[in-house]
Amino acid sequence: MPPAPHPLSAPLLRREGREKVTGAARYAAEHTPPGCAYAWPVPAIVARGRITAVDTADALALPGVLAVLTHENAPRLAALEDPTLAVLQNDRVPHRGWYVALAVADSLETARAAAEAVRVAYDTAGYDVRLTAGHPGLYTPEEVNGGYPAVRERGDFDAAFAAAPVTVDATYTVPPLHNHPMEPHASTARWYDGHLTVHDTSQGSTRVRDDLAALFTLGKDEVTVVSEHVGGGFGCKGTPRPQVVLAAMAARFTGRPVKLVLPRRQMAAVVGHRAPTLQRVRLGAGTDGLITALAHEVATHTSTITEFTEQAAVPARIMYRSPHSRTTHRVVPLDIPTPSWMRAPGEAPGMYALESAVDELAVALGRDPVELRIRNEPETEPDSGRSFSSRHLTACLQAGAERFGWLPRDPRPALRREGDLLLGTGVAASTYPVYLAPATAEAHAAADGSYRIRINATDIGTGARTVLAQVAAAALGAPEDRVRIEIGDSDLPPAVLAGGSMGTGSWGWAVHKAATALVARLRAHQGPLPAQGIGTTADTGQETAAPSPYSRHAFGAQFAEVQVDTVTGEVRVRRLLGVFAAGRILNSRTARSQFIGGMTMGLGMALTEGSGLDPAFGDFTECDLASYHVPASADVPAVEAHWLDEDDPHLNPMGSKGIGEIGIVGTAAAVANAVWHATGVRLRDLPLTPDKVLPRLPVRPH
């Protein structure tokens, strides 16, 4: 008998590729049940206040309008932990863009016209949307996003910093950022015989199902949420968003199926954003290059209705040796939309600041920044003293330097010219934690020799279907094309969302366990399989509940080459190269796409992406894709992602770490460090747009 196929790591084509390139893949708003009505939301146009009157007469008079829901007539919802879902429940307006009404009509055009015809009067109050370093409302929360403590202190930072012969003390800022997946938030909801069925664009429909059941006081078996194809999420579809609640409400209110797609320009106010961060980093080192003191202090904002604190100082707790360390977060509630997860919350902004500061330290010490990082590798996790389950940052830095052609490198800035262009290179490290969550999976063997795996995983573009088939096939010892995968439906065995880079590890573990159990049952089975086949179910509640004795993180190194136009101030990336160590890579084709995608978003964070809250009106000024600049094809030249074969037995049966987020971590610092090398100018406010770069350039031609 030939050896069993081992499809892990194979570069299999993504399973739904054909459906996606032919237009056959249906996303949430692409289900149109008979009698489907359309909804269009009405956002508040004041930054804080109360609704005093809603006049819906003109809207209701339009032919084809079915209803206008407001806080006066909308179905009552049970209270949930997430107050952003309590839509149309009272007269309070906590921020501009908060939904105050919803028009429902028999066509999209009429729904939109009706929404525009709704008149809302407000009693407004003073408001504050500006985060400042000295804001009197800043306080230290109990914990930050991810459940980490807000403050950690080790040793005596102040004394060590004061005594250090070489120091860096710099403040970096990251503006609000928007996830902007290409598919806007959308839901199609219908009630049939007391059962609510929703096609929702979500990173995890089990949670959406649970929240809808709670909001509408239903059993979980009375709600089905389908997220078969999802047009990106990057965190902003991680938990239910208002559109799914509004669609379900409107469907119940009108007795018709209702489709609701959020207008792109409204998304910034209601789907979450990456909170801005003001980050002071202080590093003290000996002349030998060893860091003796490290402080990373973060100020950020949240909304008045819920506390979300971007955990930007958390990566500093694991990155470098630092016998004396202080990492703190403070947050101020403002009259703004509620921030939430955006790809690598904490790590993406935090590592921009930390890795920029390390570059500044390298300059101050006169040391190569690759060598300085390697020199400060910790033996164990500095914060906890735990051993790393695996840590190959040094190898990533070395392999990346080799591939990129980092050396020879003249460390002096502003020396390399090509006509009007100044050229430079930069490096930064990446990291992202390993998270795991419980999941349940079923494995089934049919009499015809085929297999079926059922689990409510979600494929938001990661290739989850494909990689889970590989995990199952490897465990079953079966060819991958004999394994059918069913995901994206809350009626399937429950599983965690596609987020926190934990999908593949968490789902894969359950799939592996169910498939392994199935193999055992098949071995024990005598004779041909029964007509209905044989199935097993497994859940990983126990395995994932046990805390690991190890500190588990993926690491990486990113290198950038930039050109800075001395006439226009425009920075362009010429090359990006990343090398990552993230356990076993389960599908090299789809994994490469994820790494490169993350790095591309990091390029946007470095150079083009930035939003701001308008102090006069209280809304995000860059609220659409014309004003919020995500990278376009011409912005993205050669981007390469590589990885090391990392063997880590302390993760999960596949030996995989997550890869969805680490690609964005460190990119912005690598680019900004390259801009310093090109120009000699240290810019510490992202994004590095020409208006900031040009006035600071040392050489002004003519």
Binding site: T32, D58, D123, M182, G597, V639
Partner: protein, 204 residues
């Protein structure tokens, strides 16, 4: 302080703009002729998606900023969210659904799958339709911002990676598949030029 949402839909806005006046148009989509009474406010994109169930063209922004809705109108790429359906009477529209020949994928579609030039897939139909336009425009000698100034006027433009990046920059991809998209467009261009199966299908 009292503030109110402005009474949009009244004032200078013509009544017909809010009551859904309709006119009959003939649309030829992927070779099929449709006679439809369309709301004057309807975009071509919404008619394709909501009336004809051709969901390949995607709504990403509805404002011509993202390119997800790209289709070919009389062979030329266009943002279908910026076209009023009522103004497209008699036009030939090609959407991504019209590219494959039965079960046989168009070379662009094949190349996108093989290169993994997509992740979430939401921008993909627009990318592919846009690429189809790019291939034709380059073949017809239309210069771009990066075409050398001394290129032969009207001569076929060589689709270098820079040319593809420039010409495809109206189609945003938040997953960051750009490097693979550039490769896929180049692959498909080579295949079509070498006369391998499939053609550009852009002319309707």
């Amino acid at each position: 302080m009292e503030t109110s949402n402005p009474p949009a839909g009244s004032g200078d806005v013509p009544r017909s703009a809010v009551t859904g006046a309709r006119s009959e148009v003939i649309l030829r989509v992927n070779g099929t002729t449709y006679t439809l009474a369309v709301d004057h406010r309807s975009t071509l994109l919404d008619v394709l998606r909501e009336r004809l169930d051709l969901i390949g063209a995607k709504k990403g922004c509805d404002h011509g900023q993202c390119g997800a809705c790209t289709v070919l109108v009389d062979g030329w790429r266009a943002n279908s969210c910026l076209l009023l359906a009522v103004a497209q009477d008699g036009r030939h529209v090609t959407t991504v659904e019209g590219l494959s020949d039965g079960q046989r994928l168009h070379p662009l579609q094949e190349a996108f799958v093989e290169r993994d030039a997509l992740q979430c897939g939401y921008c993909t139909p627009g990318q592919i339709c846009s690429a189809l336009g790019v291939l034709r425009e380059a073949a017809d000698g239309h210069p771009s911002h990066v075409t050398p100034y001394d290129a032969d006027p009207g001569g076929t433009v060589d689709l270098t990676a820079d040319e593809i990046r420039e010409r495809m920059s109206g189609n945003l991809c938040r997953c960051g598949a750009y490097p693979r998209i550039v490769e896929a467009v180049a692959d498909a261009g080579d295949r079509i030029r070498d006369g391998r199966p499939g053609d550009t299908g852009a002319g309707s």
